[in-house]
């Protein structure tokens, strides 16, 4: 099965600090995604990418940056973390424009105190 690996799996950060969430996929998928999951809001798209060097804003990009240095890696960066960014973050890879499956990582639980 396709593999998407997120690190760290759990993170406690201080308000105002910088946080980097990493994602690696070995599926050679063009597209990668970052979502956050909060009760009552489902999965909300933060940033996505079509390939190395590209990043696109999703529906809730404010307060987040993304970086896609290679086909395999896609990072989510919180330059100045705030308590409102406490959430579970999922990375995914796939090519849904071909109606193919998008594969998710196991998620990162981020707590900003």
């Amino acid at each position: 099965e396709a593999a998407v690996t997120q690190s760290p799996r759990n993170k406690v950060a201080v308000t105002g600090g910088k946080v980097t969430l990493s994602c690696n996929q070995t599926n050679n998928h063009n597209n990668m995604y970052w979502y956050r999951q909060d009760t009552g809001h489902g999965l909300r798209l933060i940033h996505y990418s079509y390939g190395a060097g590209s990043t696109e804003k999703g529906d809730i990009p404010d307060g987040y940056k993304a970086s896609r240095p290679s086909q395999e890696n896609f990072s989510l960066i919180l330059e100045l973390a705030t308590p409102s960014q406490t959430s579970v973050y999922f990375c995914a890879s796939g090519d849904p424009q071909g109606a193919t499956e998008v594969f998710f990582g196991k998620g990162t639980r981020l707590t900003v105190v």
Binding site: G40, A99, G105
Partner: protein, 112 residues
């Protein structure tokens, strides 16, 4: 902009009963629709997908039909089991961009 709406936040049913989870969408392009299921403390996984109008698609006892005329892709099952308890997401993508957006999710809780 594009959007996906799931009207039920929580559906509670007794084992053996039928279920329908609603999904409607808004988009200006030709859509691909998906249903993902997320069990407790796990990642979402694909359950169903479709891009063909008025064609029923089935998997693991669940089925759905994409109706472009009503912009709907409701998920159904004729007899739910305890193991169907999970969070269900409807999702929308397009042929060209690959942007994938999800609805708010419906929690399905099955009682013995």
């Amino acid at each position: 902009g594009d959007s996906v709406t799931q009207t039920e936040g929580l559906v509670t049913l007794t084992k053996g009963l039928p279920v329908m989870l609603n999904c409607t969408y808004q988009t200006t392009y030709s859509p691909f629709l998906f249903w993902y299921v997320q069990h407790l403390n796990e990642a979402p996984k694909l359950l169903l997908k479709s891009s063909t109008d008025n064609k029923r698609t089935e998997h693991q006892g669940f089925y759905a039909t994409l109706h472009k005329s009503s912009s709907s892709f409701h998920l159904q099952k004729s007899s739910v089991q305890l193991s169907d308890s999970a969070l269900y997401f409807c999702a929308l993508s397009d042929y060209n961009q690959g942007k994938l957006i999800f609805g708010q999710g419906t929690k399905l809780s099955i009682k013995p």
